[in-house]
């Protein structure tokens, strides 16, 4: 059931187009993530949906009604602002209670709901503290509680968890997911954290320079990016130059000292091989050889930088206790052919990505 439709939404600031003809259809109860580099227009898009910025063009339909014709306070949305926008003159509890008061909830119910909401974000003891006296993360959680407590049917979340530690963040993610499931809230989440977007969302919208690059399920966007920008933006990718040619077993691509079978139809000649670092493993033979330049511990995983004849290759291995090469060790790396993608050499990958949108 189509719930929210953005149709060619556009916003210009003076001579700067912050949001450029963004179109999007969101189903009821869906959780959609907006992803994209800093300054690509995510906040601006949300602000237009919420009604705080006038769109320069395009339409927004909610449940079949023209949203842009409504006043912000009649849109009935919940919003978590990137800058929190807490009421500085109210305590945390008063901040959270505000939306309920507007909905004329009886005093007793209100108090209970506020207490629940504060508990949810782990601030049950901080109800009567003013924002100025709270830490960054605490303020952010108050902002979250304030938006959640009114149980809006559409919730816009602008980097709602950016100042929380991993534990708290995960709890909050689970809460959001639970609310989405039980209350049926439709959510649009702006996040800079790709794993958050991947873990939470039904679909992701990847934006760049004000334009939508791809709308797809997380795994699809990750595994089958629409263009090089998306591929690059969603996690790291190794792009290795090679030469496509015909071997005994069909088309192959030769990258430095290794040869890989190609299943896609690619014209012979210079090409590029794309493979994600976590798909690469250390093999005994039959792969690309190189030297470990650096190994960086990242908690659950190790990041390796390998110097090969085809350039630097990043490799990610899980920190599961299995033996891993040390720095300056000579290694051979390999991957399964189905995990790689081959494309014709394109010196202007980024440019073409923009044009593709």
């Amino acid at each position: 059931m189509t719930y929210l439709v953005l149709d060619q939404l556009t916003k210009r600031f003076a001579n700067w187009t912050a949001v450029d003809r963004v179109s999007l259809t969101v189903e009821k109860g869906e959780l959609i993530s907006l992803l994209g580099p800093s300054g690509c227009g995510k906040t601006t898009t949300l602000q237009m949906i919420a009604g705080f910025l006038d769109a320069d063009g395009g339409r927004v339909m909610l449940d079949g009604q023209d949203l842009l014709a409504k006043k912000p306070n009649e849109r009935g949305l919940g919003i978590v602002f990137q800058s929190y926008a807490l009421f500085p003159h109210m305590t945390a509890a008063e901040n959270v209670a505000f939306g309920l008061e507007m909905r004329k909830i009886a005093r007793a119910d209100r108090d209970r709901m506020v207490a629940d909401a504060l508990k949810l974000v782990g601030l049950e003891q901080y109800g009567d503290r003013h924002p100025r006296r709270m830490s960054g993360g605490q303020q952010q959680r108050v902002a979250l509680a304030r938006a959640l407590v009114i149980k809006p049917s559409l919730l816009l979340l602008d980097e709602p968890l950016s100042n929380l530690d991993a534990k708290m963040r995960e709890e909050m993610q689970i809460e959001l997911r639970r609310i989405q499931r039980t209350v049926g809230t439709t959510m649009i989440l702006v996040t800079h954290d790709q794993s958050e977007a991947m873990a939470l969302s039904d679909r992701v919208v990847v934006m760049n320079k004000g334009r939508v690059q791809q709308v797809a399920s997380p795994q699809e966007a990750y595994d089958r990016p629409a263009n090089a920008f998306v591929a690059n933006f969603l996690g790291r990718t190794n792009l290795l130059p090679g030469m496509v040619g015909s071997g005994a077993a069909g088309t192959v691509i030769t990258v430095a000292d290794s040869v890989w079978p190609v299943s896609q139809p690619v014209p012979p000649g210079p090409g590029a091989l794309a493979v994600r670092p976590e798909k690469i493993g250390f093999v005994d033979a039959g792969g690309l050889s190189g030297t470990v330049l650096a190994r960086v511990f990242q908690g659950t995983q190790w990041l390796f930088e390998i110097e090969t004849a085809a350039g630097r290759v990043m490799v990610i291995r899980q920190h599961d206790g299995s033996p891993l090469p040390a720095e300056r060790e000579r290694v051979t790396i390999g991957w399964r052919p189905q995990d790689m993608a081959v494309m014709p050499a394109d010196p202007e990958a980024d440019l073409s990505a923009r044009e593709a949108a």
Partner: protein, 312 residues
């Protein structure tokens, strides 16, 4: 789900292609009524209660006057011509604006830092000191200038003290001098500056000042480069109030300056009450009003443009 998503993508991509350069439908902007509605009560009040009397005053300024005939309903610009031609009036107007300008500067120079210092004071002191700042406004101008006379008169405490110490031989002139008028006006008007800077200081984020400190700025630099530009609206408000009040002040110049140091307001007062030459008095008032508006609106515009960022 994922099927739907991918078709969506396709649709998106193919749909976007053809009209890449077609401008999105423009939304018509409705006329911004809000500001007019918001200022409507004030405008209505002023239109009836101020514009009419002011218009009457303006019309009055076109009349003529004679001692025995009183005000005559003729329409002429003689009063304006008289003021423009007579260097006595030039001197008075010049003095008026000189005093107003100096007072405004003094108030800004002393009032703004004081407001800043007040803000950084600890809780009970701050309220108390704010109250003291309001002090001068609480006593009538008559008793206030009385205090000045007792302090600074030729036989006042300050002069007596200085003479007793042998620092000066003859009393410093304070009463009936321009300096005296400026000091007394500064004394009355500086609270307006403090309060209005105070109001705009409330918005400042203290962390921003900390940021400047951490970058190596000394307290004075922080004030000049970081705090000052952000409280320009407050200083502007204060300056406008102070300037306008100083330029149209009557009581203080009349009492401290005496009749030999005439300013526009005392001039108008004289014409209105002593000679009953209202048309000429009204002309003085109209000219003062126009000069004030030109100066103030000019400065306002200049400052708002210069500090555009802060005013948004």
């Amino acid at each position: 789900m994922s099927m739907a998503a991918s078709t969506d993508t396709q649709l998106q991509a193919s749909a976007a292609k053809p009209d890449t350069h077609a401008p999105p439908p423009r939304r018509p902007r409705s006329f911004p009524w809000a500001p007019y509605l918001l200022s409507a009560p004030g405008l209505a009040l002023f239109a009836v209660l101020l514009l009419v009397p002011l218009a009457m005053t303006f019309l009055l300024s076109l009349n003529s006057f004679s001692f025995y005939g009183g005000i005559e309903n003729v329409w002429q610009l003689g009063n304006y011509a008289e003021i423009i031609a007579d260097d006595y009036f030039h001197e008075v107007f010049l003095r008026t604006f000189r005093i107003a300008a100096v007072v405004t500067i003094l108030c800004a120079v002393f009032g703004a830092p004081e407001a800043y210092i007040l803000r950084r004071m600890k809780s009970p002191w701050r309220g108390l000191c704010l109250l003291i700042v309001l002090g001068p406004l609480l006593i009538s101008v008559v008793s206030r200038t009385l205090g000045w006379a007792l302090l600074f008169g030729s036989t006042g405490l300050v002069n007596q003290g200085l003479m007793a110490l042998g620092l000066i031989a003859t009393p410093i002139e304070f009463m009936y001098t321009e300096t005296g008028v400026i000091i007394a006006l500064t004394h009355v008007l500086v609270p307006f500056m403090v309060l209005s800077v105070w109001a705009s200081l409330q918005r400042l984020d203290p962390q921003v000042e900390n940021a400047a400190l951490s970058l190596g700025a000394g307290p004075l630099t922080v004030m000049r480069r970081v705090v000052l530009p952000q409280i320009v609206p407050g200083i502007l408000s204060g300056s406008i109030i102070v300037f306008a009040l100083a330029a149209s002040a009557f009581a203080t110049p009349a009492i401290i300056g005496g009749r030999r140091l005439k300013v526009a307001a005392t001039l108008a007062y004289d014409e209105f009450l002593n000679t009953l030459n209202w048309p000429l008095g009204a002309t003085v008032a109209v000219l003062l009003l126009i000069a004030n508006i030109v100066i103030i609106v000019g400065c306002n515009r200049l400052v708002e443009r210069r500090y555009k960022q802060v005013f948004e």
